[in-house]
């Protein structure tokens, strides 16, 4: 394993009596495509928010390329990009204005921000819709615009929360290729997902989180242990045994 790009130590967060993240430790090597998988309510979004400086942890430390996110937030935020689960964008800007705004907020000179905006819109297949308001974008277009905003300053680590949720296969392919290319250049991606096939396909490192705790972490092969990731995941987090046995009327053979 190379130098860790993302290091998480003893991260905890409680909301009242509910412990959302119960002390997680992680190490993601630079240049990794890492997945954080877990059932609904496992603490994925809370963990990613704390790792990116958007939610203050109760205890714990997060280092991105050696920079402590909570000791020096501006320095750490400058080298990371975030794509939240719900594409949280400025709805009344056009796609083009949004990306340029993100670039200029990140301190890019005007000409550079505009040039990168045009290139990203092209790669993300949004050029034709560049002048439409984000409010009128579909889910896939919003995800792509959100990814463009997260990438425009060329971060060294990218955090994505459910990046392909609600995205059509064509848009998903565009996003996947862009992320693979990004990782290929030595940058690091950590993303949360429910889609095991996707994680299995693209990730070289997987961590499984359940009830706020990391229950398995390692290379994808290590976590799978010879099974599919789906099977391994279900074994790790447990599944409900009954499959709707009470619905005897359901199905074309019943009336």
């Amino acid at each position: 394993m190379g130098e860790p790009a993302i290091v998480v130590r003893g991260l905890r967060k409680s909301f009242g009596a509910k412990e959302a993240v119960a002390g997680i430790d992680l190490e993601i090597a630079a240049g990794s495509f890492a997945g954080l998988v877990g059932p609904n309510g496992a603490g994925k979004t809370t963990s990613l928010s704390m790792m990116t400086g958007l939610l203050r942890p109760d205890t714990g430390q997060v280092l991105i390329n050696g920079l402590d996110v909570w000791a020096d937030p501006p320095a750490a935020k400058a080298i990371i990009g975030v794509v939240p689960a719900e594409a949280r964008l400025f709805e009344r800007l056009s796609g083009e204005e949004l990306l340029e705004y993100a670039g200029r907020l990140r301190g890019l000179p005007v000409a550079e921000a505009r040039a990168r905006t045009a290139q990203l819109l092209d790669v993300l297949d949004l050029t034709a819709d560049a002048k439409r308001l984000v409010a009128d974008y579909s889910t896939g277009m919003r995800k792509k615009a959100s990814l463009g905003c997260a990438l425009i300053h060329n971060p060294s680590a990218l955090f994505l929360d459910e990046p392909l949720e609600g995205v059509d296969p064509v848009s998903a392919d565009v996003l996947r290729r862009l992320l693979t290319r990004f990782v290929g250049s030595g940058s690091t991606v950590l993303f949360s997902s429910h889609v095991m096939e996707l994680v299995e396909q693209v990730c070289d490192h997987v961590s499984v989180i359940a009830q706020g705790r990391i229950v398995a972490t390692g290379t994808t092969d290590e976590v799978r242990g010879g099974k599919t990731l789906q099977q391994a995941f279900i074994e790790l987090v447990g599944s409900r045994a009954d499959g709707g046995e009470g619905l005897s009327w359901l199905g074309s053979s019943s009336s």
């Binding site: 939240p84 949280r88 204005e97 340029e100 200029r104 005007v110 002048k131 439409r132 009128d136």
Partner: protein, 528 residues
């Protein structure tokens, strides 16, 4: 079908009542208002008995009710789950029984009942004798049926549009004429009535053309029957019934089309211009550009400015032509700037989840200063010309146009103070906002009403207090030559406002630096 939809409507009302204590309180308040409207309308129409202009006033009242039914679905669309036919499109329902069911559901509830009871005041105020009474009962029933059919027709026709972003934007602007109308009724009508300029006789003859519209037909049918012309009355009611049938037919057609059609008006919308403005002004210019575009494109922001203008005019209109005009002029300026501060005192909550983009990029106090000052520049670019035009306009109406400069002085000081306070409250008392269904402007999310009230009142009162020195300066120097006092006052007030705004930016940036994650968590909970 009718029974099922009426049951659905009652269940929706019951469930809304159970959802929270706030909903329960809202429901009770709505019931009380409905009761008051019913009693008030009944009493008002009954009091017309023996008045010369009773039929004219009845026509106006009937028309106002129809107008209310026409406008209400546009403003409150979504409050009634049975209003949107698309929710029923999944089920195998034929259009005609569905239409009857929807009509029955519309007639269910406190407000339709309040309408019916209130309008029955005509049985006392306008109807005379047996035929008059019978025709009055028929006319009121047809008037209520007309109102409901009209509302349904409008809703079905616009359902697709009202579900779209652009349609909602357009509907949102309806709040401005309604707000202006409210101000006219609360500020202008009482004053004109007190001065004796508005009496029942003022309405005599207004129904020259109104008598031919459906509500006018209903009102005049009662008058005809009461004055011994039952045939004419029946003819009028037959005409009204034909209009209702025609409207119903159009509604059913529109309904069957609406169930299988989507609105595509939004698909073609695009912005002009290639890029963000103010490119060469760094981070401050970048933030100013974002806020500037939002002020222009976001209906909520435009409504806020519209409300500010309406309040400034409405509060001064009653005294602007009296010898006390100067107090009205300066008071209007102070109130306008206070309102501007109050409406922008929660910029993070108003930005909503998009603030995450900014929270990730704003690094350090210097960047935050640029953020808050950029926001001030965008708001100032609108506030200064808007408030100045209103102040000079009011001064012109008062026939003291030069005194517009005094209003401008208060405007400039107040805008500076208001921007400072709105920035400070944005950081110190932030709260999530939510746009409830049917409401064009967002308000404090459930559980944050106290924060909202604190931020709003704090910035409003703080701004008004901050302009007191300028108001005193304007009043106490009245005997000095205008050529000297006006420029001095305007320049001093502008400088004072700039200093206050600058202090506000520094305080807000300092406080925000420590609280950026918390501000983000507030913003992300806004539902806009």
């Amino acid at each position: 079908m009718a029974r099922l939809l009426v049951q659905l409507k009652l269940r929706l009302l019951r469930n809304a009542l159970r959802s929270s204590a706030q909903a329960k309180a809202g429901f009770i308040v709505s019931m009380i208002f409905a009761g008051l409207v019913a009693a008030g309308t009944f009493a008002g129409l009954a009091a017309l008995r023996g008045q010369g202009a009773s039929v004219d006033l009845t026509t106006v009242t009937f028309t106002l009710f129809a107008f209310g039914w026409l406008i209400l679905p546009l403003v409150t669309f979504g409050l009634d789950g049975t209003l949107d036919p698309a929710t029923l499109a999944l089920y195998p329902l034929r259009t005609r029984p569905l239409a009857v069911g929807l009509l029955a559901a519309s007639a269910t509830g406190a407000w339709p009942l309040a309408n019916l009871i209130g309008l029955l005041g005509v049985t006392v105020g306008l109807a005379r004798g047996g035929p008059g009474l019978v025709i009055a009962l028929l006319a009121v029933s047809l008037e209520v049926l007309f109102c409901i059919t009209l509302a349904r027709f409008v809703t079905a026709g616009l359902a697709g549009l009202l579900r779209s972003r652009r349609g909602k934007d357009l509907a949102a602007f309806l709040i401005l004429p309604l707000f202006a109308l409210y101000e006219v009724f609360t500020q202008v009508v009482p004053k004109l009535t007190a001065e004796g300029k508005l009496t029942p006789a003022s309405f005599a003859g207004v129904d020259v053309w109104m008598r031919w519209i459906p509500p006018g037909l209903a009102a005049h049918a009662i008058q005809d029957a009461s004055t011994g012309h039952p045939g004419t009355a029946l003819l009028r009611l037959a005409l009204l019934a034909a209009v209702i049938v025609g409207l119903g037919w159009l509604w059913i057609r529109s309904l069957s089309r609406g169930l299988v059609t989507v609105d595509t008006s939004t698909q073609s919308s695009a912005v002009r211009g290639a890029a963000l403005p103010f490119g060469r002004y760094g981070l401050r210019g970048t933030v100013a550009a974002r806020f500037w575009l939002y002020q222009r494109r976001d209906p909520g922001s435009l409504i806020y400015w519209g409300i500010t203008a309406v309040v400034m005019v409405a509060t001064s209109v009653s005294s602007i032509t009296t010898p006390h005009y100067l107090f009205a002029l300066l008071g209007s300026a102070a109130l306008g700037t206070g309102l501007m501060a109050a409406l922008h005192a929660n910029a993070v909550g108003l930005s909503g989840p998009g603030f995450g983009l900014e929270a990730m990029a704003l690094a350090g106090r210097r960047a935050l200063r640029a953020y808050f000052s950029g926001q001030d520049i965008a708001l100032g670019m609108i506030a200064v010309p808007l408030l100045a035009v209103i102040s000079f306009g009011l001064a012109a109406v008062a026939r003291h146009p030069a005194d517009g400069f005094l209003g401008l002085a208060v405007d400039l000081a107040g805008i500076g103070a208001g921007l400072a306070l709105s920035n400070v409250f944005t950081v110190t008392v932030p709260y999530p906002m939510e746009k409830r269904v049917g409401s064009p402007t967002p308000r404090a999310a459930s559980g944050y009403t106290g924060y909202g009230l604190g931020g709003t009142l704090g910035s409003l009162l703080g701004t008004v207090l901050a302009v007191v020195p300028v108001v005193l300066g304007a009043v106490l120097t009245r005997s000095d030559p205008a050529a000297v006092r006006m420029p001095v006052l305007v320049l001093c007030a502008a400088g004072y406002g700039l200093v206050l705004a600058w202090i506000g930016v520094r305080i807000a940036a300092r406080a925000a630096e420590q609280r950026l994650p918390e501000l983000y968590q507030i913003a992300v909970r806004s539902k806009l």
